[in-house]
Symmetry: C2
Subunit: 477 residues, 2 copies
Amino acid sequence: MHPLQQIMYPSSIAVFGASNNPMKMGSIQLANILETGYEGEVYPIHRSEETVMGVPAYKSIAEVDKPVDLAQLVLPTEVVPQILEECGKAGVRRAIIISGGFKEVPGEVGRERERQLLEVAAKYGIRFLGPNCVGIMNGRISLNTTTIVDPPMGGGIAFASQSGAYTAMINPYLRAQGIRMCQTLSVGNEADMDLVDCLDYLREEDYIKAVGLYVEAIRRPREFIAAARETVKRKPVVAIYVGGTAAGSRSSLSHTGAISGPDELYDGLFRQAGILRADDLDQMLDMLWILSMQPLPAGRRMAVITNSGGPGSSLAYHLEKAGLEAPPFSAGLRERLDAVTGPLTFTGNPIDLTFETNVFIFKQLLELVYESGEVDGAFIYGIFGASDFMVNLKKRFPAMQAMEEEWGKGYQEFLAGLAEVPRQHARPLAVMSLAGARSRSIQSLIDFGVPSYPSASRSARAMRALLDYRLTREALT
Amino acid sequence: MHPLQQIMYPSSIAVFGASNNPMKMGSIQLANILETGYEGEVYPIHRSEETVMGVPAYKSIAEVDKPVDLAQLVLPTEVVPQILEECGKAGVRRAIIISGGFKEVPGEVGRERERQLLEVAAKYGIRFLGPNCVGIMNGRISLNTTTIVDPPMGGGIAFASQSGAYTAMINPYLRAQGIRMCQTLSVGNEADMDLVDCLDYLREEDYIKAVGLYVEAIRRPREFIAAARETVKRKPVVAIYVGGTAAGSRSSLSHTGAISGPDELYDGLFRQAGILRADDLDQMLDMLWILSMQPLPAGRRMAVITNSGGPGSSLAYHLEKAGLEAPPFSAGLRERLDAVTGPLTFTGNPIDLTFETNVFIFKQLLELVYESGEVDGAFIYGIFGASDFMVNLKKRFPAMQAMEEEWGKGYQEFLAGLAEVPRQHARPLAVMSLAGARSRSIQSLIDFGVPSYPSASRSARAMRALLDYRLTREALT
């Protein structure tokens, strides 16, 4: 069993640094462990308190007379090696060291302390994440050891990061987009385990469908490439790298003590590793989202189905800019489409329904274009609920409330059916919508497995990532 | 007075096509006019109903025995010219024609109908928007004639668009970002008034600080360039163009009946016009947002102030990628910064506060870097409220509720003060935050005039737009 498997699935956790003073980072993390739904045992370790946040506390790890799978330490830097030693003596073999003040601070003291950690760990066979990290989140067991509340758990995305902020502070952004996250791992200074270990671990977890990495420096390039290539044979890996400019590099050095390299070097490294490179965190999530949910396209040919001209033109433009194609449909296919849409609709690709208010035909049209074999994937604009039309109408026509509810039920069925079409035809679908995850319809569609992007360019680049992954995987196997 | 001034500020509106059947587009638009807070007179015109949605209705425009500043028509195509004629006879001189079925549909019939509209308009001196548009929104008088509810009104952004969907469906996207919109104009087929008119009108409205355009085709390039250049001398103009690929062009043709040109042609046209080009709607809004609120930078030198390494490195990287610079600070400035942060913080630019929990020092640091004269603008990451830390803590420490409220007041003052610093020093500030507009802190900061972007790349490209506008304007004047 991979040591990270044990860190991510502990049956019991000892928490150092939590107290009855809520203004401590350890207290915030303990509150999150206790309130997120984790069902394992939690043992606060505190020198003087009988209980911490109502949970029985122990004076030291030695006093916990039960097996402890994982220790999380948020303590003043200078005591961390000693406490880790106490953990080792007490039989604890896995740890997350949150505390900073090690290799990332200038000078010899920090480096020396990090060496001490490694000595202690070697002596007792302890494997650990950190130091200088923010903890982990595992939605499979409702475990959140970070300082930030309410991760939207679920789905098939995992994210391993050399930035702690990105793994934890990401939660509100994920919620706003409607993206769920399955697991996050903050690796901090990587004194013991690093992104290579994360790749080895995440490769074997079959429910993880796509892996994201935030990289400031790769310390073991050869092992990284090997681990990534093995992973990419089974699931896509997308990375962000921001060390490749003068200021970016200066910042990384002060942050994780890692020496970064020029952009081109990392471009080459990612290419060799089979990793897709994202420009930034938002783009990485856009890519991981569709990669974790949709089938891969066999080629570049895309259909666009829209009920509005502007978004349709934007999709057509941006998919071509992203290196995909929107081929004109054959006369035969247009005839079949016209039979559904009526003669006034332009069905040449984009299919522009304009004033068509019966959104249910989106599903039929999608089936027809997939069945034709003329496209390898599709974009839809125009999936939205009635709410943006009805809010003011309902004030004037109270009877519409019941109508909306009735219609809403039919709409849910439609969305569930629509989301099945890509799977049935093994062709991907991306939705573009300005309504966003606050719209019940869009949230349902997402829950049924279709990602929704707020712009044409973001939809197109995400779709392109699916193609890039297919091509990359083929080249590797 | 520009005819668009009269269309945007009517004291009275006649609405054709609304009825007591809520499932009509005209009914949705009337409900929005009635429920958004518009204080002018509204006259539904309906052949048979005594009242429409409780408002007294008139059998024809001739029966409205009061001045009508504006008529909005959502009627079957074939009756539109005749109704417009009736409006002309009744003295109405401004109109918005929502109905489609004109030049944008294939064949001679549509073109002929559009010619009829122009004949009628010429005969009576009617100036109109459309046909084939969705209406207008003017936050200054709480007027929303579109089908979509709840535009987040305010601020200084105006948007004129050849896509109706983009002007109306944009509302939920704006709300999610925290962006307010002052005015939108959907120009449709531009049979009478076009984007040139919009530029002429918006140039003179001093409260409009930045103008966005969605372009599928420019029908009067010479006039467009002249109007834009005059506008750009007074306020920035940002355009999206999506006609420049094969499928994009095919889609535009079917949508507005306009013939588009290659990307490079439009690139050149926008450059001549002094217009900044955005890649897509989301990027256009990112640019307009900061352009409408922040001072212009004198040069490329940027400070980054962060409390997290990853976002700090990302900002440093992306601002350099965007053609800006993050110069290392002088020894003197670092000394002054160190006096605020303490010796353990890296203050070399980025300033990385890491574990500093006192966010209030952000303001002092910003003042110090601006006062130094060593930078022309700044980015901040790390402005967020307590909510993401406190939600679970409060379940364990109920007393924290009062504490949070107390702290929240001080925080509001801090945010108001912080937002003043860019104005006082005539240097722009952009905030990066993953918390988004759902966070009370971020929403406050936005309300105080500082835009907040969810990623480093988006922040950096927005800041770059400020510099580009300054350079463009200098070249024009």
